[in-house]
Symmetry: C2
């Protein structure tokens, strides 16, 4: 057999990790405490720089460095937001992150300054056709994100699933850029799905939803509680919450979250919502204020299917690692 060790993959060796897991840099959820806890557990802890709010990034990144091992702390950004204001990236690079992850846009614009800082570049892609650009940008790691993932990703007609995207990109890299590492993202939330990521040809996994649903995550407590009660059938991708939140995401992307009452009310009438969003936005804002997640959104992917508790992140990482290794052969 080809022996796969979840604790000794190429990704582990490159970043001196104890397990082939990276925390997804989820905006407003992957704060300093979650990134540090992930790093202490042996994973790569990426702070969710997200929309590039400088003050948030400064506070949470400093907290991560305070609580976790510096050599496993990095940061992630939404590329097209950096095109508007890259000050949070520039601030982060001054603090020597081990890695910077870019998603949703052309990474080549920022590749030079990231490389000069000494940080490794991690590029997230959603389709095979984006891989060449990421390799051209000098990515050390490609993250292949399937549409199962929570939060932003490719919209319906363009969406790919993790189980086909990962082996296809693994083959592409093996033929054209064998030194580039590959992580699977989207649906990886327990030992089975982590082991599957390696079997599919990835060097590890980027874990979002499962670490969103932990004690250290900055996601609202009510959202986490709703997730524990939701089956995998209970999320959906659409533009509803981006319209409600006044986020002007570019066309090929939409957003997966729990398909709550307000989502169901508008999911079949996207154009009407876009044309006259005032009443729906008022309902959404009231839901956020009240902590009412039948109206406010809970950003989690299909792997909510496998979320049944809200333990500390270190427990999740240890559990996933142990269970995956048992499946792959101790």
């Amino acid at each position: 057999m080809r022996r796969m060790k979840i604790t000794e993959s190429r990704f582990c060796r490159r970043f001196a990790l104890d397990t082939a897991i990276a925390l997804a840099p989820m905006a407003l959820a992957s704060g300093g405490a979650l990134a540090a806890a992930s790093a202490r557990a042996g994973a790569l802890g990426l702070v969710g720089g997200g929309y590039g709010e400088l003050a948030w990034t400064q506070r949470e990144y400093a907290l991560a460095l305070q609580q976790g091992p510096r050599e496993r702390i990095g940061c992630g950004f939404i590329t097209w937001k950096l095109d508007e204001d890259a000050s949070a990236l520039d601030w982060a690079l001054e603090h020597r992150p081990v890695a910077v992850m870019l998603s949703f846009g052309d990474p080549r614009t920022y590749a030079g300054r990231i490389a000069r800082s000494g940080a490794a570049l991690i590029c997230q892609v959603q389709r095979l056709e984006q891989v060449a650009q990421a390799v051209e940008a000098g990515a050390t790691v490609i993250v292949a994100q399937g549409g199962e993932a929570g939060g932003h990703g490719m919209n319906g007609l363009n969406s790919r699933a993790t189980i086909t995207l990962v082996p296809e990109i693994a083959d592409w890299l093996a033929a054209r850029s064998p030194g580039t590492l590959l992580l699977a993202a989207g649906g990886i939330a327990d030992g089975r799905t982590l082991a599957a990521a390696l079997v599919l040809g990835a060097d590890g996994a980027l874990v979002g939803s499962r670490l969103w649903a932990t004690r250290e995550s900055l996601a609202p407590e009510g959202a986490k509680q709703q997730a524990v009660q939701t089956t995998g059938d209970g999320t959906a991708r659409s533009e509803v919450f981006d319209i409600l939140r006044r986020k002007n995401w570019p066309a090929p992307y939409d957003f997966r979250a729990i398909r709550n009452d307000l989502h169901r009310q508008w999911e079949g009438r996207i154009e009407a919502l876009r044309a006259d969003p005032a009443a729906a936005r008022a309902a959404y804002d009231a839901g956020v204020t009240a902590g009412d997640f039948s109206r406010a959104h809970a950003t989690i992917g299909e792997s909510v299917a496998l979320v049944r508790d809200l333990p500390p992140a270190e427990e999740i990482i240890a559990r996933m690692t142990r269970e995956a290794q048992a499946l792959l052969g101790d």
Copy 2:
């Protein structure tokens, strides 16, 4: 380690198979020759009774029995079409199929007569919420079909992906119906994805697209050739081809195929197409007549990503089995 043998799973034992693979009963592709070749290779060969055309089913099922081992030959039907005319099912049951697979509708209507014939019932589901009904119908096997799959499946808002659906249903069955077997479907097309199916908790896989792209498949030769040239980015789910083909599929389902020129022309204007389909249908019909797959459809899923040749089915099944077993540990 938990040792998983692709040649000795519960699914293999139940149907006396040499590998944990079932041929998906693809309408108009899984004819007698493909079902027989799959059965000779040690898999379960399900003839694609599909829309329930009696003459097609009679011809192809008889051919399967002639060319393959009877004990590994079964048949599959679209449940809601049986509600209109079940004569093909009744004919098949007289010929003692080892298994009958039902997809897309309430299987309980037909469970009694299938059980009385001695055939095992295989129920395909696309969401967790459908599993209880399949178990109530007495299913021997549940097929968990992710939206990656080619052909029909759940539409966008309701679609689930294989990598989260399989472990969630595995947990559900372990708790409530541990004797029920589970197959993964959608995206399973090589040794890696087959091994992943087992790691995720399935007892085997239902393989459609990869066996569609074989010598014995009844898919049009031009469609197969187009598939070999198409990456995993090149398919999409929508209602376009159902409208063009005058198929009145019920609301929660749509159809994945290669996203060809005619599809791209209409995919953003579904309501306009539905309101006035005449011109588009004429273009589609002309494409079918000419064997022009820029207009005619090629029914294959996202695992077209892993399709790079068109060998005999027995070669595909042997290759998938060998490569999966190497990954799982010989």
